[in-house]
Amino acid sequence: MNRQEKEQYLREYSLLKNQGKSFFPYAVIKDSFMAVLVMAVIIFMALLLGAELGPKADPTTTDFVPRPEWYFFFLFELLRVVKPPELVVMATVGIPTICMVLLILLPFIDRNPERNPLKRPIATLAGITTIGAMAYLTLLGALAGTPTVIELETKPQFEAGRDVAAQSGCLACHQIGENGNSGPGPNLTDIAERLPRQAIERTLLNPTSPMPSYQALKDEQPEKFDDLVGYLGSLRETE
């Protein structure tokens, strides 16, 4: 906006303001009504939905699938949309950072003096698209089940390990056979082709983020951990 546009806006605005009403009581009434509504909704939700408390945090358990609060679903889903591992950091850190910077810079990017949403179609469309994308990702996150079964056939000696893998939340981030999500972690169906046993074990103990470490499992339940590593080490392409 150049100087003239600024002055014109300020002039127009002061006229609009002069033709307006007093904050008290006209705006205060509406705000108070909203306050009552907000309180009512919160109380209603608290009564209806309560506050569940799950089992106590236990770093040694393996059957827990990380799941954030719903308003982080869109970020979490972003992880899944981006598949190649070298881009994962981009999705988890890069995109949110870029979004924040863009949001902060918005007033300097959009210098169009027009304010009417119908007369600035690009900004309005961009806004609607962003909202749509976030809503879609949130919905995906809400619908994404947390699979706990691996149907892939395996030799009997690896079945115990397969169950550990199925119940350890790996499927939230990895696909094994037909089960699990296809991101953010790589597909594990043929992991043994790519990584030797030791490397798999190392990955479980010292993973690259965002994968959590399963060191605690090794310390607390070494047999289960060995079963898991054994099972992963058996995952090869079958003809």
Binding site: L15, L16, Y26, F33, I42, A46, L53, F64, W70, S209
Partner: protein, 287 residues
């Protein structure tokens, strides 16, 4: 003395009496007020209605506070400022967000009375609040769902300011403060999620902190800072507690203050499709 606000300036008595003593000599033992008027204080002092403030003082508590704070003119300016014509319900969303924050603050204080951030006690104290305390689960529920309500409202409010073009001149700074408030509100959601210390909170936070740590440059430092070390441990919980209880809400409250100051100073935008009445033709010509 020029710098002092009216309520802090000396009562008229003093500037009145002093010149009297030095100049005319004493003898005016009559009412102080009269004395003040007669002896002609310097023009600067006389021009200001100090006497009125002093006369009203002591009329109840409000007068007492007002004499010492000068709040009334400020409140009057705040309450009787004009809002432009056409203000609508979408423009109450900011206030609604603020009420949600206030509700979070109140329920949060009650939770803090019974919550124990020690990792061995955290879950037990959360369980005690939920299962044993009178209305405990209700207050926890309010805090929990209040967080969701606040997030929904803050996004709606942001959407409103976006579609109204309210981030444009002269309100750019308020938009930026708003973005910081949005980020801080999300941080509240993240740090609060760990506190009950059940499985959900633990594993979700583990992943979230790992994600933070995977960022380039400051990522690893930020991750270590959140965890309170290289490993997710007891220090993590107390850190999240301090962030969630003190630092972040303090920042949010301060920034809400700045945000509202700017709203009052700049005035709230009118719906952008409205034009001021008299100037309709003129402004179209100018475009």
């Amino acid at each position: 003395m020029k710098m002092l606000p009216p309520a802090l300036r000396p009562r008229p008595k003093k500037p009145g009496i002093k010149p009297a003593k030095n100049g005319n000599g004493s003898g005016n033992g009559a009412a102080v007020d009269e004395n003040g008027k007669k002896s002609k204080p310097p023009l600067k002092e006389r021009a200001k209605p100090v006497v009125d403030g002093a006369a009203e003082a002591g009329v109840g508590t409000i007068g007492w506070v007002d004499e010492r704070s000068g709040l009334t003119p400020f409140l009057r300016g705040f309450m009787y400022r004009k809002v432009p014509k056409g203000i609508n319900w979408f423009q109450t969303l900011g206030a609604a967000t603020m009420f949600a924050f206030a509700a979070q603050a109140v329920t949060g204080v009650f939770l803090a009375m019974y919550y124990d951030p020690n990792p061995t006690e955290a879950y037990e104290s959360a369980a005690r609040i939920t299962n044993e305390l009178f209305l405990g689960e209700f207050v926890r529920g309010m805090h929990r769902w209040g967080a969701s309500v606040m997030i929904v409202l803050i996004f709606l409010h942001m959407g409103r300011t976006f579609f109204y073009g309210a981030y444009k001149y002269p309100r750019e700074l308020n938009w930026i403060i708003g973005v910081v408030l949005l980020i801080l509100t999300m941080v509240m959601g993240l740090t609060g999620y760990l506190l009950p210390f059940d499985q959900r909170s633990f594993w979700a936070t583990e992943v979230a902190v790992a994600l933070t740590g995977s960022g380039p440059m400051i990522g690893p430092y930020l991750g270590d800072f959140l965890r309170g070390g290289a490993e997710f441990g007891p220090a993590t919980l107390t850190r999240f507690y301090a962030l969630h209880m003190l630092l972040v809400p303090g920042l949010i409250a301060a920034l809400i203050g700045a945000h509202l100051y700017l709203v009052v100073k700049l005035g709230i935008t009118a719906p952008p499709w409205l034009k001021a009445e008299k100037r309709r033709e003129l402004s179209e010509e100018e475009i």
